[in-house]
């Protein structure tokens, strides 16, 4: 190990890039642990995805105004999540101190913690009881806290309130109720598609597959981290989607849907039910003509097989890079960012789901975001995606299996059996 190897690795990666002319990666697998106390005060950097609303900058300005000697500087990374992860990983592998605070997707915690790229945070300095517990779990690796939950996210069932009311049915709690409700609406609206989620072969498919399995009472991994996707419950979950496609409950073209394609279809009035994140609320409610369904929809918790369903957790956590300087300042800034006033301002500016439970019960906020109580319910019953050190491989295996089953390339039995074997190898 050491500096020489690191240099070798960095140039080797450059070599790959030269050979490919389109790829770049760096790297060394590890280094000495810098852990222990979080010390040092001074300037820190904050590496994050795109600050689309400008509110991050606003909060950082607020912090900088009162901390003249502990300035925070935002470093915006590319918009795509994969590219963000890659940049952070590359930085960690060359042990660069360029990034101090890292804005991590909830599924990256295990990888960053296990590689010692981020340091353990003092759990007693965060009032974790006030946070939504599923969100806190996403920030932990092997029961230790490696990040602070900042944004959460849960899936919601968007439905056309006008059409359900006209047909005289209530929002469904189970998959059977959903199909029945759709049949009732189809009597007058024969062209409408019943249901769609995110089924293109990408991270969204993992989210939707996990939801289907969890909502049927199954699990992807059990509490000890062992894969259990060959269970009858998991099969029942996947089969709801498979038969949904076969029977036309899910429109055929939904296999190409990511979030945005589905949102366009819902806003064009092509869908009765749509599994989607909270961000769709504002966009579908716009009255400037971009949405045909403004004022005609509402949200409900996701349906399950026999009772209420269970969402997959999304969101982002902030962690401190093991190689960054001034970790004490970084910790203070994270505390500031996860505090109530910051989270409130974030919710108002970005409509991203907060992690503090109290904000979901705030009457004033509910007035502005009527879906908050439903979202809280969704997040509280939500399940995380597998917390795997090699998460990239795990999610690809899941996408491979789910896509094969949904497109009819494999039966759900075979797909799940293959997936079980693959996960056993990856999670051992």
């Amino acid at each position: 190990m050491g500096v020489r190897t690191t240099a070798w690795r960095a140039t080797a990666a450059l070599g790959v890039a030269v050979l490919l002319a389109s790829c770049g990666s760096g790297g060394d697998g590890g280094g000495e642990q810098t852990g222990g106390a979080l010390e040092g005060r001074g300037e820190v950097t904050f590496a994050t995805g795109k600050d689309t609303s400008g509110n991050m900058q606003k909060l950082v300005d607020e912090w900088n105004a009162s901390h003249a000697n502990e300035q925070v500087r935002i470093i915006e990374l590319p918009e795509s999540a994969d590219a963000q992860r890659q940049q952070m990983v590359q930085n960690a592998q060359v042990k660069s101190d360029a990034y101090t605070i890292l804005n991590l997707d909830v599924v990256w915690t295990a990888e960053f913690a296990a590689n010692r790229w981020v340091v353990e945070l003092p759990a007693d300095q965060f009032d974790l009881g006030k946070f939504l517990q599923p969100a806190v779990k996403t920030a932990q690796y092997r029961d230790k806290l490696y990040a602070a939950p900042v944004y959460s996210d849960g899936g919601l069932l968007y439905y056309r309130k006008d059409l359900l009311d006209a047909a005289g049915v209530k929002p469904p709690k189970t998959w059977a109720e959903l199909t029945a409700a759709c049949q009732a609406v189809k009597a007058t609206q024969p062209a409408i598609g019943c249901y769609a989620g995110q089924f293109e072969k990408y991270e969204g498919l993992t989210v939707n597959f996990d939801e289907a399995v969890h909502s049927a009472g199954g699990d992807v991994v059990d509490s000890t981290g062992k894969p259990v996707v060959d269970s009858p419950e998991a099969k029942a979950g996947l089969d709801t989607l498979v038969t949904g496609f076969q029977q036309g409950i899910i429109p055929e073209k939904a296999i190409t849907y990511k979030e945005e394609e589905g949102r366009r279809a819902f806003q064009a009035g092509e869908l009765l039910f749509h599994r989607q994140w909270p961000y769709q609320w504002n966009l579908a409610g716009k009255t400037d003509g971009s949405s045909q369904v403004a004022g005609k929809f509402d949200v409900a918790p996701l349906p399950g097989l026999k009772g209420p369903g269970s969402s997959t957790l999304g969101g982002h956590n902030f962690a401190i890079s093991a190689f960054g300087k001034n970790k004490a300042t970084a910790l203070d800034f994270i505390k500031f960012f996860t505090g109530e006033s910051s989270q409130r301002s974030n919710l108002l500016a970005t409509s991203q789901a907060p992690t503090l439970a109290s904000l979901y019960d705030d009457a004033e906020l509910i007035k502005q975001f009527p879906y908050l109580p439903t979202l809280k319910e969704s997040i509280l019953s939500a399940k995380p995606r597998p917390q795997a050190v090699r998460y990239g491989d795990v999610t690809q295996a899941i996408q491979e299996a789910a896509y094969a089953a949904l497109t009819g390339e494999k039966t759900s039995d075979v797909a799940l059996k293959d997936l079980q074997a693959k996960l056993q190898e990856l999670l051992k």
């Binding site: 070599g15 790959v16 697998g29 050190v389 090699r390």
Partner: protein, 314 residues
Amino acid sequence: MTAVAHRARGRAGSATSGAGRLAAALLSPTFVVLGLVVGYPLVAALRESVFRDGTDLDESGFVVEGSRFVGVDNYTAIFVGESAARFWNAFGNTTVFTVITVTLEVLIGVGMALVMHHAIRWRGIVRASILVPWAVPTAVSALLWRWIFQADGVANAMIGQQILWTTEGWQAKFAVILADVWKTAPFVGLLVLAGLQIIPNDVYEAARVDGASPWRQFWQITLPLVKPALLVAVLFRVLDALRMFDLPFVLIGSRKESVETLSMVAFDEAASLRFGPAAAYATILFVYVAVTALVFVRLLGADVIGAAREKARK
């Protein structure tokens, strides 16, 4: 100015013994730069391809650090075992894309060049409009085509059917080929046009006097005379197509069997932090490209450097 030129000319003419040394000294910066930006990374990538990072976890869940020397294991793992199917699929896709797209691009590109060459009115507009696709960055044009090929997109509206272009199957291959041909046929056209413009007009006049039909003129005058330029264009396109990455990656998506190319496999491995196997894939692709180029130059006599030297001498 003139004095300097005089002195330089004088030295080049008389002192032939010192010329070699001077040339070496003058060229040495080039060799240093080449060694740094091409040689060293290449060697480093080769070295990386015989190592593999540890992925095991210790008792408390931390990754056991360090990479170990695995010899040719990264290479054998590509050809035998479970990744073999993925490799050969990607190899097949890369080859099929290259053969089909380059063939179509040559046919269409030559047509475009003839049109550009013979356009009398609006010559500038015709040339500019043909070259527009080439000027669009590949990733951007891939986004554009994805918009055309989406479920409710222009393509489906035009044919009046609902084909899910971005799903696995022949339609995904077709979409990639169409988008690639659209984008790079103008490139072939441009190079062929350059070749057409150096054919002297009197050759055609003589042919007309002898009563040769336009068809015969094309086969016996235009094609043989434009061949050097055409071969260079084809060689460039073949080498480029073998490295195809951004178009299928953006248009169809990653990990889609129907369109996965060798570059995409290498990228995917690197993104999964398996740099050893990634470097091995990249090296194999490099060898494939190099061998193809060699065979091409030998068989078809595409004299890339020679032609340039010849031209420079004139």
